[in-house]
Symmetry: C2
Subunit: 422 residues, 2 copies
Amino acid sequence: MRTHIEHAAAAAELLAPLATQLELLSETVPLSDAVGRVLAVDVTSPISLPRFANSQMDGYAVRAADLAAASTGAPVRLPVGPTSAAGDPVGTLAPGTASPVMTGAAVPDGADAVVPIEQCDPAHFVGIGGDAHDAPTGTTVRFSAPVAPGTFVRAVGTDIREGALLLPAGTRLGPAQLGSLAAAGIIGAPVRPVPRVLVLSTGHELRSPGARLDPVADSGAIYDSNSTMMAAAVTAAGAIAVTASAPDDADAVVDAVEQHPDVDLVVTTGGVSAGAFEVVRDALEPLGVEFGPVAMQPGGPQGLGTALLPSGRRMPVLAFPGNPVSALISFELFLRPLLRGFAGLPARRRTERGVLAHAVTSPSARHQVRRGTVRADGSVEVGAPSSHLLHAYATANALVQLPVGVDSLPAGAEVEIWRIDD
Amino acid sequence: MRTHIEHAAAAAELLAPLATQLELLSETVPLSDAVGRVLAVDVTSPISLPRFANSQMDGYAVRAADLAAASTGAPVRLPVGPTSAAGDPVGTLAPGTASPVMTGAAVPDGADAVVPIEQCDPAHFVGIGGDAHDAPTGTTVRFSAPVAPGTFVRAVGTDIREGALLLPAGTRLGPAQLGSLAAAGIIGAPVRPVPRVLVLSTGHELRSPGARLDPVADSGAIYDSNSTMMAAAVTAAGAIAVTASAPDDADAVVDAVEQHPDVDLVVTTGGVSAGAFEVVRDALEPLGVEFGPVAMQPGGPQGLGTALLPSGRRMPVLAFPGNPVSALISFELFLRPLLRGFAGLPARRRTERGVLAHAVTSPSARHQVRRGTVRADGSVEVGAPSSHLLHAYATANALVQLPVGVDSLPAGAEVEIWRIDD
C-alpha cells in the first residue's frame, strides 16, 4: 500500500506541469491588488534609491571642511543659508554657510555632512517653520565640534542602484516588498496567475445548507459541508475556489468537470471507496485517474491522476474521501503544501513537539492524523479518531501525527504536532 | 522617555473602545464570504450530528444478537435485505436479515452493528451497484464471527448534540469551522465587523508612483511608498485599508480625516518629528493627540491619542514617522498585534533564537529593531540600521531585536528574532 509520503510525492508530480505553467505566465496588477501575489519575473529598479542625497536628521547641512577649525576647541560660527525642507528641489550650499535641512530632505549640492540640530547652538531652528521657509538674513549658527564627511547623509543609491535587482521572480509581495516597488515608482506588479481549483462535491445524500429536510424522504440526507469547507481551504491556501456538486451519477461528474474549462485542477470529495456506489471512481477511473488505498487514517481511499476528458482536455484530479474530516486531512497532506508553494508561502504547518496528556492507540500499519488540543504547557489532548467528528476538528488547535509502526503510546510520550491555529 | 512596551500598551488602551465595539456588533455573511472572519456570538447547533445513525464502513448492517451463534465457531448465514446507500431514507432491518450498508449511509432501524464487507463471505457485495440498488431475492451472506453492539455505527449526536455550543464567539472561521457550520445546516455566519483603517500619507515631497518627475522642480521629490505599504500591512493583518494623502498643510490633514467618517482608526505617516515642518503634529497635537519620542530605533518619534475633530467626532490616531522602514517597524510593534487580535489571529510574530553571524552595535538607550536574514543553520546576518533601507527590508526574512541596554554583541551571541517570511 502506498504511504502518505509517496502519495504526496505523486500529487507534487501531478501538479508539476501546472507549477511550470504558473511560473511562465504573468499578469500585471495594480500594487493595491497585489498583496500576497507572487512576482512572475525579476524586477529591476528603474531609479536609484535614495534618488538624491538626503538627510538622516533634522539639522544643518555643512561642508565638513568648514568645521575643521572646531577641532581645536574653538567654536565655528556660520551664517545660515536657505532651508531644505522635504520636497524642496536640491539646492546649493554656498561655501562657508550652513543650511537647515529636515529629515529626508535633500542635502544641498556642496554639503557633505549634516550636524543634528541638538548638537548646534542654538539647538533649535530659528525663524523658520509654518510659512517661514528660510531663516531671516543675518541668522547664524555655532558648531562646537568638527564633523566627518558623510555624517548623517544618505547617499544616492545606498538602498538600491538604478538597474539593480529589486526583487527576484518568485517573491511573495507583502508590505515591505510592495512598498519597495512603489518607492521605485512602479505602479503595476507582474505577478503569476492564481491557480483555479474546482471543488466538486458528490453524493446523493447531500443537501444544501439551509434546505428543509423532509422527515421521511430526507431521513438519510446530510447537509453538504465539503463544498464550503474545501473552498475555504483552497482560498486560505492562496488559490481561487470554484464550487460545483454532482449527484451520484458518473456522467454528471464528468459533465460538471467539463463545464469548468477555466480551472487548473479538480478536487473531488466522496465516491472513492470500495463500496457498491462509488461515483467518482466510476466516472474518472476510465479516464485515467488511479484509485487505491493510502496507508493513512483518516483518508485511506484516494484517487489521483490526469483525466482525459471526452472533450479532449486533460485535467489533473485529486479525489478525496467524502467524510469531511477525511477530506480536510487529505487536503492538509496532499494539496495544501502545493497550493501554498504556488502562493509563495511556506508549505509546511508550524511543527512542534508535544507531550501526550494520556495514552493513545493507533493502527500500526497506517499513518494516523488525530485532531487534538495543545495546552500552553505543551501537553496534548488527543481527540477520538473517527472521521465523522468534524465539530471536534473545528475546536482543535493541532494535528497529532502518529506514524506507521506506532500501535500505542503512553501518557508522557513525545509526539509531533502541526499547529492549525494560525 | 517612553519604552516601546509602554507605547504598545498605550496603543492597546487607545483601541480598547474599538475592540469593545467590534465585539458588540454583528453582521451576517454567507459562509462562502466568511473565511477568516470572527464569530460575533456563540453559535449552537440546530441539529444533532450525525443526524441519523450511519455506518463507518462498507458492510452489512445486522442485529448483533443474530450473530451470537457464530461465537461457537459455526458460521451464521442470513438472507440479504434492502440496501442502504448514501442518501437513502432510514429503513428497517427485518429480524434475522442483513442489509448492505455503505459508508455514511443510514444504519437501518433495528440494526445495531455493521460487519465490514471484507469480514463477510462473500467479501464483496453481490448483485448491487450501478442501477441495481438491492440484491436479488434469495441472496445470502455468511458471518463467521459475532459482533459487539455498536460496532462501526456512528450514533446520533456523537459529534455534537442539537442545542449544544457549536462554536463560541471569537472563533476565527477557517475551513473546519465553516465546514462545521455548513454541516449543521447554517448558511450565514454572524461575524464581527472588520475595522476600517485610514492610511494617511503626508509630505510635500511625495509623488504618486508612475508620475513623471521633473529633473529640477522634483529633484527633491520621492515616490510615495507609505500609502501602498501601510495599506498592504493593514490588509495583511485582516483589516480594511482606506488610503488618502495630504500635502504638508495642517488643515489638509484634518480635512482628510474628516472626509472619512466611516473609518475606525487613522494611521498617519510623516510629520511627527522635531523638525521645523511637522504637519501631522501641527494638525493633531491641538486636537489632543500626544507626540513624543519612544526609546526605539528606527521609529523614535511617535504620536498617539484620540483626536477631537472640528466636526465633534473623536478619532483614534496612531502617527508614525515618515521613513518607510520606521513606519513599518512602528506598525509591527504597535498596530499589527492589535489588528491581528481583532481578526482572531495570533498577535505575535513567530519568535526564534538566532546566533549572530557577525558583531553588531546598537544604541544602548533604545530598543533597536534590525532587518536581517536567518539562514537554515540559525545564523543571523544583520542588515544596516538606517531607516531609509526599505529594499533591504523587502529582502530580509527576520526582525532582529536588540533590547535596551545592549550596546554591542559579538559574533556568536544569541538574539531574539521575529520571522517575517510567513
